[in-house]
Symmetry: C2
Subunit: 244 residues, 2 copies
DNA sequence: GCCGATTTGTCCGTATGTATC
DNA sequence: CGATACATACGGACAAATCGG
């Protein structure tokens, strides 16, 4: 599956940046040199470099070259963008995840649910509340809404493990796009009951709509995070394309 | 300046999506048709489509086509990624911005400042505190650190307007990359004094490091937002490139 | 200040692979 | 199976920015 040549080049360059083969602020070899190194076309090295740019590893400058702007200290966050399940990110950070299913029901979307989630009114849904632990601490409460037509046969047992694994490996539903909105909200009674909130009276809230490859939105999730363990990282670039 | 052909195609397609020429869930014309429409090469239309994908307007599926997944209701947020100044985003949302400079000093980075901001110890910096109003409401407190070598001649008067305008139009410093981290933090005395926090005891905090085209980090800013007016939007895609 | 070499940015055309219908 | 669609890859050409002599 991971066959594309530009991906291999991306990985190799990223590894070399992370391990210090190129120093911070140093220019990488020019595109022409990389063409020789990897025995490929210019487009292919440029795709790899482009991916490094969007990930914040390097920045390019016409007439100069490609500069390494990676700083290791910054790259230890709970999430780095992309789409990643709770379990995946926990494993990546070498933490021990656990999930408790607080509530598992089936509902039909009324106007209110429809307005909140974006599902059409009348949609048949699973509604779950799940509590996520990391290294024994309750950190996140998730409110999940799944479209029954797509996420067929969901059970409490599956929900205690990884729903995303079930989606990808059993149902072969591939997650393609996810639209997320981050806000800060007041704590609710449920939050207070299950999360150890200390002095905090608000949480970091991530609401997301997830689409499969057929363009069907099959999931709406509201993730409520304990503030002291929430961290979201992002690399922005002044785009050539003006957004105004 | 905005001459690139793929940018024009991007803009045209985006406009057509936003104005309903293509309906939600509808497939756009195929790449081959777009090649004829815009009289260009395949690579060029693909670059435009690729930009639409990263902006969450469409999603592609091999063998099927390019699907419009744009929903107008979702696209009204304070920031949509990218790098945008306070004034720019205010104007875009048709709001009236005002900025009050609470503090304007020059400092030399000690170990503590260096650790917090990422500037090397000994750097000569401007340090500012600025309060941003929108439609008369105090919403954001910014703590700005600017490298004096790059941001030469900064004054209180400039800081009351738009520092980014000064950077781009007067100093011709172009912002290229910005690394951001979003967290939720407890309110400080300063926050409480200047922002109308109501019941909230925490804020949304965006910390960012900004680089110019020479790869020099010339700005560190911590933006502290009143929770009820903070909203960050993001489109994630399951990348071909595995991050694990 | 100009010129030429280097480097990235844009664009074109073509070929092949793979997924969908 | 064939037609259509996107994904990957190659190679070449010229423009624009940078830098050193």
């Amino acid at each position: 599956m991971p066959k594309a040549k530009y991906v291999e080049i991306y990985k190799d360059l990223k590894m070399k940046i992370e391990t210090g083969t190129y120093e911070f602020q140093e220019l990488l070899p020019s595109e022409n040199q990389l063409i020789l190194t990897y025995d490929c076309s210019r487009n292919t090295v440029r795709r790899a470099i482009s991916a490094l740019v969007t990930d914040g590893y390097v920045q390019t400058a016409q007439g100069k070259g490609v500069r390494n702007i990676f700083r290791p200290a910054l790259r230890t966050s709970f999430t780095i963008g992309g789409i990643e399940s709770f379990k995946e990110s926990a494993v990546r950070n070498r933490q021990i995840p656990k999930t408790e299913v607080l509530c598992f029901t089936e509902i039909t979307a009324d106007q209110k649910v429809s307005g909140r989630t974006g599902f059409p009114a009348g949609s048949e849904l699973y509604y779950l509340q799940r509590l996520h632990y990391l290294d024994g601490k309750a950190l996140i409460i998730n409110h999940n809404y799944f479209l029954k037509d797509v996420v067929t046969g969901l059970t409490k047992e599956i929900a205690e493990n990884s729903i995303y694994e079930y989606l990808e490996h059993t149902l072969h539903v591939s997650i393609v796009t996810s639209k997320r909105v981050m806000t800060v909200e007041k704590m609710t009674e449920i939050d207070e009951k299950y999360l150890d909130m200390g002095d905090y009276n608000c949480l970091a809230v991530v609401s997301s709509q997830t689409y499969d490859k057929d363009g069907i939105m099959f999931e709406y999730t509201q993730s409520r995070h304990r503030p002291d363990y929430f961290r979201f990282q992002d690399n922005a670039t002044r785009r050539t394309i003006e957004k105004i």
